[in-house]
């Protein structure tokens, strides 16, 4: 075999290597879309331990449980309560103002106009509540304002810290336990917005492919975190 032939064999082999290796390498090195999804599912189905003792067995044919009573006066039981004011994601260098949000005219979650801010779903649980998912949502980006507060949400990993600071100066600390991604038609909205199950926070934004024609992402990304202590 001539040296020339050897050269062309090497060139051909290199070309094949590039043609096959680049796409394979790309697909192997891109970050996983979903990490520890089953943890988030388990949290949603958990029943936090009741504070009262288990009821004792009764020999009565039709046992009658004790009846809770409430003061029926207007305004009874009300009062001001702390709301989240700031969200910090130290591993992503994110520190954003939080504003309470509801739903828009279509019944979709309202996202703050300012992409640097994060919305807290004010109809759901508050930080510190004993049960349910406190939902915080932010823009991944916007056509007008560029990158949003949750631009790098998909880079959060299990174990990463999340900090919420309340309007009353209180601090709630959390630890990421899962990251999930779904096409928008398959997002488990009832789990994300659940007002039951273990106390947890869910950070939500958009992700996946972007459709220019409708100027919308095809997926939602959700990061679930659990409390690690309150101060």
């Amino acid at each position: 075999m001539t040296r020339r032939r050897t050269t062309w064999v090497v060139v051909t082999a290199l070309g094949v290597l590039v043609a096959i290796g680049v796409p394979v390498g790309w697909s192997l090195t891109r970050p996983a879309e979903t990490v520890d999804a089953q943890v988030a599912e388990t949290l949603a189905s958990m029943t936090p331990a009741p504070s009262t003792a288990a009821p004792t067995a009764s020999a009565v044919a039709a046992p009658v449980p004790p009846v809770p009573t409430q003061d029926g006066r207007v305004g009874a039981g009300g009062g001001p309560v702390a709301v989240p004011a700031r969200l910090e994601l130290p591993s992503l260098d994110v520190s954003s103002a939080v504003e309470p949000v509801g739903v828009d005219g279509e019944g979709d979650l309202e996202i703050p106009e300012n992409v640097a801010e994060v919305g807290w779903y004010r109809f759901g649980p508050r930080p510190g509540d004993a049960v349910g998912s406190t939902v915080l949502s932010g823009h991944v980006d916007s056509a007008e304002q560029g990158k949003g507060a949750f631009f790098r949400l998909r880079d959060l990993k299990p174990g990463d810290p999340v900090v919420i600071r309340g309007s009353d100066g209180r601090t709630w600390r959390y630890r990421v336990v899962s990251r999930e991604e779904w096409p928008k038609s398959e997002v488990p909205l009832d789990r994300i917005f659940s007002r039951s199950g273990a106390a947890r926070i869910t950070l939500v934004t958009c992700g996946g492919g972007f459709r220019e024609d409708i100027r919308s992402y095809q997926d939602n990304i959700a990061v679930t975190a659990v409390p690690v202590g309150t101060r």
Binding site: T2, R5, W8, V11, T12, A13, L14, G15, V16, L17, V18, A19, G21, V22, P23, W26, V60, A61, A62, V64, P66, V67, P68, T69, Q70, D71, G72, V74, G75, G78, G102, V103, E106, G107, D108, L109, I111, F123, S137, G138, H139, V140, D141, S142, A143, E144, K147, V187, L189, D190, F193, V204, T205, G207, G209, F210, S216, Y217, Q218, N220
Partner: protein, 270 residues
């Protein structure tokens, strides 16, 4: 007191008879029963199957919800001073509780001031996200009324013992009750919080003649539903759906190189 007792016995029996009529009972499908005390100045003790269930049950108080397996319950009511539940009860009734229903039994006065119990079936259907349900029940010894929120009538011509159901955006509203067609305030104004995903049931109670008119509020939560979606991006800067452009370019380049190599290989002499 005796007259009240007699009326309540009758009403309990009637009320439960209304529910007892229909429905196939499933053991897993318990009924949710709430009792509202809307008769002024008449505290009582309520016994169920001989056990004290509501002790010193005060006017203006909401008891429940009690999750009851479908079945037959013996309800006896004694004056608040009688905590032993012995002697002759002032009320004795057997209640047939049907499966699955969400029911409030309101003890209240009729339009002409006689004590009674009216059973109300509560609308516990799911609300759209952001919405709250306001239910107003006229259970006072008073003529027809209008209900105003922020000065604007939202309910007109409501009479005892009827109700009106409205689904509204969640908010705190300044509500008052006026005599129908007038601006003569009968009750209020009061700030009523209409919590999202919650039915707020407002009972107008008492007697206009005795100047004991007031409001009792019962709430039923858990009627919320989730937002329809999370539209959180319009820029496309985080697009990761397609294969990035440099991947197919690299593949093409690799194939061109390989093809060129192969061609030269084939045409090169051994």
């Amino acid at each position: 007191m005796k007259r009240i007792a007699a009326a309540v016995v009758l009403a309990v029996a009637t009320g439960f008879a209304v529910f007892g009529g229909g429905g196939v009972a499933s053991a897993a499908d318990d009924a949710s029963v709430t009792v509202v005390h809307g008769i002024p100045k008449t505290p009582v003790n309520v016994f169920v199957n001989g056990k004290i269930t509501l002790k010193n049950f005060q006017p203006g108080t909401v008891a429940g919800p009690l999750s009851l397996p479908a079945g037959s319950y013996k309800v006896t009511v004694f004056a608040a001073a009688n905590t032993a539940g012995t002697g002759t009860p002032v009320i004795s009734a057997t209640a047939q509780v049907p499966a699955g229903a969400n029911v409030t039994l309101a003890a209240h006065l009729t339009a002409d001031g006689k004590p009674t119990i009216t059973p109300f079936v509560n609308d516990v259907s799911k609300l759209a996200p952001g919405q709250a349900r306001l239910i107003v029940r006229h259970t006072a010894a008073a003529p027809a009324v209008d209900v105003r929120a922020g000065g604007t009538p939202v309910i007109s011509g409501l009479t005892n013992p009827n109700q009106k159901v409205l689904n509204l955006p969640a908010a705190t509203v300044k509500a008052d009750v006026v005599l129908a067609g007038t601006s003569t305030v009968a009750i209020g104004p009061a700030d009523v919080t209409l919590k999202e995903g919650t039915a707020t049931i407002v009972y107008a109670i008492g007697s206009a003649e005795d100047k004991t008119l007031g409001l009792v509020v019962q709430t039923i939560s858990g009627l919320h539903s989730s937002p329809g979606g999370v539209p959180a991006g319009t820029g496309g800067l985080a697009d990761d759906g397609g294969i990035p452009g440099w991947v197919p370019i690299s593949v093409g380049l690799g194939l061109v190189i390989a093809a060129a190599g192969a061609v030269r290989l084939a045409t090169t002499r051994r």
